[in-house]
Structure formats: C-alpha cells, structure tokens
Amino acid sequence: MKSRAFPYIPHTEEEIRRILHVIGVSSVEELLKVFPPDLRLKGPLKLPDGLSEQELKELLEDISKKNSTTKDYSSFLGAGAYNHYIPSAVNHIISRSEFYTSYTPYQPEISQGTLQAIFEYQTLICQLTGMDAANASLYDGASAAAEAVLMAKRITGKKRVLVSSSLHPEYRETINTYLSCCAGLPEEVLYCAERGVTLPDACEKAYTDDTACMVVQHPNFFGCLEEVPALSEIAHRKNSLLVVAVTEPVSFGMLKPPGEMGADIVVGEGQSFGNPLNFGGPYLGFMAAGNKNLRQLPGRIVGQTVDKNGKRSFCLTLATREQHIRRERATSNICTNEGLSALACAVHLSLLGKDGLEKLAQLNFSKAAYLEKKLTGVKGIKTAFTSPFFNEFVIEAGKDAEKFLKALLKKEIIGGVALKRFYPALSRHILVTATEMNSKKDMDRYAEVADSFFGRC
C-alpha cells in the first residue's frame, strides 16, 4: 500500500491508525479541521518530485560551483575571519566519531575523551591569554565580547559600558543587541584618526563612577596594536574592568598575553586555529578571566578531578552558574559551547606547539609588513595610520578605492575590505590582511595590478 504517512516520520500506516483510534478521530485530515478553510492549502504543495541521491549530488555540486573560494582567488580579506592553513591531521582527529557525534558531556563516566579535550582547549586558551580560567567556548568572538560586558556589569554592579570605536563594528553591534533589552547602550570612545588606536586620555575622560568596563580590541579592527597596559591602568584606577577582545589569535604567537598587561577578561574569535572560513560559521568564541571572577564566567567549564580510585579524570564543574541549575539567575541563558570547533582549535594549537605558533605569527607579521611596503610604494596609495600592526593594515587609496577593489577582483585578487560601510569617514580606505597563505608572488602581483590601476588614473 502506498503510504499516506509523512515521508520523514517513521510511523507505519498501522501505527497511525492505532494512534487515531485511541484519540478518537478517524483520520489525520479530521485533526486539521480546526484550521479555517481559507488558511488551508487547496491541493498539494507545488513542488517538483524528489531527486535520487545521485541527482541531488549533481545538483548541489552545480550550485556550489557558482561559489568562489580562497582557492580560486588570491584573498587579502581578514577583519575578524582569517584564511590560515589547516593541517590535515586536524580534520582526521575531529572526524573520529567519538568526537564528531558526541553530545554535551553531562555524564562524566562515559565522556572522558570529550571532557579531556575541552579541558586541554581551556588550558591552551589560558596559556595564550595569560589568564587563570577559560570556559569551554562560546558561539563566536562577537557574542563572547557581549558576554564579557554582561559579566563585567555583574562583577562591578555598575551600569555604563565603554567600547572603543576601533573594536570590530560587528562586535559592537552584537554588544548593542545584548544590552538593548536592559537599557543603557555602550558609549563609544573614538579612535585617533592619525594613529588608528584608542588614546588613553580620550578613554579616561569617558569614565564615570558608574562605568563597569571598557572593551578594546588588540590588535584592533584596523590591525593596529592598542596601548593595553595604559588602558588597563586607567580602568583599574576607576574601579572598572578592562575587557580585551582578540579577533586574530595568531597574534598571541608574538604579542604579550593580555593577562600580563592587566586585562580582566579576555575574549575573542578562535576560528584562526583549525577552523575554515565556512562563509562565517560555525566559529568559536573564547573567553578567559582571573580566578577571582571565575564564578561569574558564563558557559560550561570542565575541571580536573580524581575518580574513586584516585585516577586523574574530568567533569563539568561549577555548574551552579549555569541555566539548568540557576535558571533565570544563571550567568547566561543565551550561550553554549562550540565543542567540535573548540576541539579543532585545540588540535591545531597542539600540532603547532609553542615554537610553531611563534613562527606562524612571525610569518604573518612579516608578510603583512612586506605587503604594506609594496602597496604604499605605489603612487596613489598611502598608509592610513602610524601605529604598529600585526597582520592587517589600512591603506588609503583615494576616491577610487572601491573601483580599485573591483579592478583587483577582475584579476582574481580580493584586495581587502572597503571600510566605507563601517566608517563613513574612511570612504577611501581599505583594510588589507596578509597571512601565511599569501605567497610573495601573490603579493607582488597585487602591487603590480595596483601600479597599473593608479598609473592609469
């Protein structure tokens, strides 16, 4: 008998008949009688017939060919999502079904592998950020920054929030969204137009007695290095907290950990390690703080303990902060961890090791320095800001900046992010990123296309 049952519901005709009998209706149709006739479809949905697996695969492959990836183009995009090399071992390890199919490790007796992996991830985040404790990860860097703001408000009991305008614009938007429910949007401290960083003096003036925290990105959205020690000194003098956001954690391989510069909460985006660009997700937010604020961290935390035989083991810990216990008074009711992405991050970091990370950071730094020198050597392109940068920098390309990006695109070069959409004052500016994925040849070609574009102008 051809089934009238729904294709993705596993009940047989016989089961459906019995269910209907028990509830006392004759057909599924009868159940739907409560809907007014004018809201009901008159016939079946106008959909084509289903495809076979083979046909479906071909269709999807054809659609995916319409996309271009960083393999087809020479990409100099960054701005919070970075094109880095992912060693093959990362995907092999995270594809093991023990990791790939596992759910939240609430039962430690059957989840030691996942728990140990998260514990090691947290340990790596603490080492990179220079903080005491990290959570098991959050959705992404932007939501981690928003959680940090809420956490700072809980810790200090104060209401106002300062953010630097050199913080990623989308991170600022996310913070606004999180704060929009409870009054008092953050106030922005404008970056210095000449240096491209937050000036401690400007920052100091913005504080009041009711300022819970200041959020600054380092390296900031323009790639520039902020004066974190000075900013944290001010925050602490004002009995407030400094939140440092890091969108490019490869920078940890060269820069002093924020924890050693006085940061109270360090958050950021972990995509750079082990996670591909993926059209923007899934990514992973990392978050770390000092021991004295441990109880205010949102999200899951894995701790190390001993089992009944005294053997080292792991479990979810400090769970009373969390929504399944504290309900509306939990540290967060809008977070989870990105287990598999965090695992990919931990595996990549383990493969790199301390020396590997240092070398990777130096490679990124020197590539960006080379490209910046090449591009600003082109007549028509200038450096926008005077501050030192890591692997991103802003160029000023005149009134034809957007035309310039289009000309590059024709030569299969994605030249960077036009900043106009984020900063109207920077309508002639482009944010350019270089990583280990950009060869010298690619960078030279970028400069050559620039040369010929501006030569024509």
């Binding site: 009991g157 109880r295 009373t320 504290r326």
Partner: protein, 128 residues
C-alpha cells in the same frame, strides 16, 4: 537542631540578631543541615542596600544552590569576608562565627514581622 530563643527568623531560613542599631543576619542551623557541606558563598558589597524578602547573596552546597533573602530593608554596614574564604564555617557555627552581614535597617519595625524561635521551629517541623 538549635533554635536560639534570642533570635528572630524568616521562612527562608535566615536568622536575625538585634545589636544596638544594627541587625546581624545569618542562616539557621536547620538551613545549613538541609544544604549539606557548604562550598561557596557570594556576599554583597559593604555599603550596598538590601530589600526585605529580596535576594542579597547566594549560598552553594554540594547538593544545591540557594539565594539568601534579606529579612529587612536597609544598608549593609559590614560583611563577614572570613566566611567567603572558608564557607564551611557556616556548617560548623551558623549562629556564631558564620554571621553573614550586618544591616542598618531603614524601618526597624520590620523586625516585628519576623518569626520567633518557637514559630520558626514549628514551621521547620511542618516543612519536613
């Protein structure tokens, strides 16, 4: 189980001792016994305000986490920071060393609304 006669009590299991113009607040012997081993206490800030029947802190045991409710409205004049470092004292000496906060009450007549030792003891027996 101890129910000292000179204290006042709340149905949320806090005790109150009047001392001059201030009142001292803690949790009862019955509360610590029901909670089990206490591992953490979240204390309010000195100088902050508390409101009658509103949470002012959190106490966490190996079994559960509970809010601490203020028996009176007023200002926190002193916080027992020592129990923050060793919350187990709450299990050992709930009416003595483990006092939690001292409050300067805004309207001292609120104290009259609290339970006496006999009333509280009866309440705990009914709760079981």
């Amino acid at each position: 189980m101890e129910f000292p006669k000179d204290l006042k009590y709340t149905k949320e299991h806090e005790w109150v001792r009047k001392e001059g113009d201030t009142v001292i607040v803690g949790i009862t012997d019955y509360a610590q016994d029901s909670l089990g081993d206490i591992v953490y206490i979240e204390l309010p800030q000195e100088g902050g305000s508390v409101t009658k029947d509103e949470p002012f802190g959190v106490v966490e045991s190996v079994k559960a986490v509970s809010d601490l409710y203020s028996p009176v409205t007023g200002t926190v004049v002193e916080v027992n920071d020592a129990i923050g470092d060793s919350p187990e004292v709450i299990n050992e000496d709930p009416y003595g060393d483990a006092w939690i906060i001292k409050v300067s009450p805004a309207s001292p007549e609120e104290l009259e609304e609290l339970l006496t030792a006999e009333e509280y003891q009866k309440y705990t027996e009914e709760e079981k």
